[in-house]
């Protein structure tokens, strides 16, 4: 199921599929956010913005409008 990183709930994991063309795309890529990278949303600031994500063991905080540029794929839950 494809979504924006900003829409992923706390504690959930998602895989980056692409980043929208923008002035900060390069910076996000340099932080290791490339297609195929699995990230976990850890927690959000009190007003829901910014969010903190885990990228390979380090915690990165992104403003919601920054996170909404990152398109991700959520692993579909197996329905038994």
């Amino acid at each position: 199921m494809s979504a924006k990183l900003s829409e992923i709930k706390n504690g959930n994991c998602a895989t980056v599929t692409s980043i929208e063309d923008s002035s900060i795309r390069l910076k996000l890529m340099e932080m290791g956010l490339l297609p195929g990278k699995a990230v976990t949303v850890l927690f959000r600031a009190p007003l829901g913005d910014p969010i903190a994500i885990d990228v390979n063991g380090f915690v990165l905080s992104l403003r919601l409008d920054e996170a909404s540029l990152i398109l991700v794929e959520e692993p579909s839950l197996a329905i038994a």
Partner: protein
Amino acid sequence: MKIALLGNPNTGKSSVFNLITGLRQQVGNFPGVTVEKKTGTLQIDGNTHTLIDFPGTYSLYPRSKDEQVVYSVLSNEDAEDYPDVVVVVVDQSNLERNLFLFSQIYDLGLPTILVLNMTDLAQRNGLSVDADKLKTFFPAAHIVSTNARVGMGKERLMTSIADMAQAAPERRTPIPLCPIDDVTCQEQEAASRYTFIHQVIDSSVLRIDKEKKAAVSSLDRLFVHPVFGYIIFAAILFVVFQFIFAFAVIPMDLIDTGFAEFAGWLSLSMPKGVFSDLICQGIIPGIGGVLVFVPQIALLFFFISILEETGYLSRVVFIMDRLMRPLGLNGKSVVPLMSSVACAIPGVMATRTIADWKERMITILVAPLMSCSARIPVYTLLIALVIPKTRILGVFNLQGLVLFGLYTLGLVAALLVAALLKFILKSRDKGFLMLELPSFKSPRWGNVGITVWEKVKVFILDAGKVILAISILLWALATYGPSESMKKNIAKAKKESKELHLSKEQAQQHVASAKMESSYIGQLGHFIEPAIQPLGYDWKIGISLITSFAAREVFVGSLSTIYAVNETDDVNKRLIDKMRAEKRSDGTKVYTLAAGASLMVFYVFAMQCMATLAVVKRETNSWKWPLIQIGFMGALAYFGAMITFHILS
């Protein structure tokens, strides 16, 4: 040999720097920009080498103006700071992202030392790095592992630097960087670089604990909690301010009285004359006026650097960012603004961590609007003078409420001006946060101490010059005047004292008052009287406004001189009595409620602090911003005071 020290933020780069240079450090700026450049020296085999600490970055391609220094120095062999050897510090527990910058630097072809730092953290995270395997990917690099926080690995690193100094490896053919404005090229480079890094990681990082899942630490649960997060932050601020107000006063008083006594002693032992006056009344009090800020600066940076070292500060940024953004500020503006409640000087100096130029400028410009501790003596004097000691609704003390109102007025003004500046200041880049939240660590006291020492040194050496110059100028203006009228006034005051049978002390005060009146500053006070009349002030207040440009609390001392109040015992009470009795030529009171309140508002807004001005000049590297600051704060003060006066009278 010139050695460049590079690395990502939060890799312990400054610990490595402190480890191998100790206190042999200097702080300056990179040529032409206001980016802090720390240089240190180290001695190896009798040779002195220079270590240059570059700002922490994630990539050679800059994401802010400040980071541009790294690219512009390393891409230009003729640059003043172009290194012979590069030392790159990486966090082993986070090798993937750290190798990104390292591989970029490695590709420049310079002799390179890779410092694998934070061995302990990697172990805690269940990782182990195979340095031999890593070296097969970067054959020309020396690899050293350290744990700089506990001082481990110093010898290994020094040996490696010594080897480089003796027989530096040949420079390899560099792989050229992308042009600084070619983003497509840089994005392609980033993608292919990470593909390569994944191969490196797969072969050289051993994951002992394969299924270690990302988890939220319990501390983070608390610190970013919608209720407790803010309560904890408020509690920490409360404790910090308690400490500052309780303990900074002691050394500040010592400096104050120490310098006054020294000047008094010296003036007695020196031959009388202009030279003695210049030293005892101009220069020594001027130096005292610089040093008196040191306790507050030192204490604030002591606390700020502890909070920073532990990783807590980035959580504050995280929970405050959303609240500050509508005002054109950043989560990182919170600490500078809060510090300004004690003193704007450390507040302005603490804005260095704000990477975005526009957000940093707004923070610097509005920080002095926060009511600092130097306003307290002015506020308390004026409140005691014109606000009655009554209770509102039976519980609230009116005087306390007014004091609280003045602090609130300053805070609201700071936030509103920030919101306004957001639209006025133009910036090419869109501000972004993208902040790393480092893991929690206990602070290293050595690093804390060095930070405090550096901030104090920068303040004394750089801002001190300007402060000293202005205070000597102000002293000269208050001491000298057109000689004819000065002589006449002093003679008249002496005659009056005799006629009134004043005691020797009272006579001295009477003469001092007359002298001040006829000095250049006194004349200036008369000259500006028409301009300050609409605010409800007379020329005597005008004199105090001018002299207190040195520092706000000087207002009280100046009025004491003008009203000839003995400074030794219970100044405030006697000064207040004199001020209450002060009448205009038409017989009405000078210090009415309207005039008092107008003065309070004036001091909330006006940039009456040459030390802050000097620091803003230093931090922005130009006189443009401090002048703009005087201008807009002066306008706010003038019109704010005028409106207050007219509403209340």
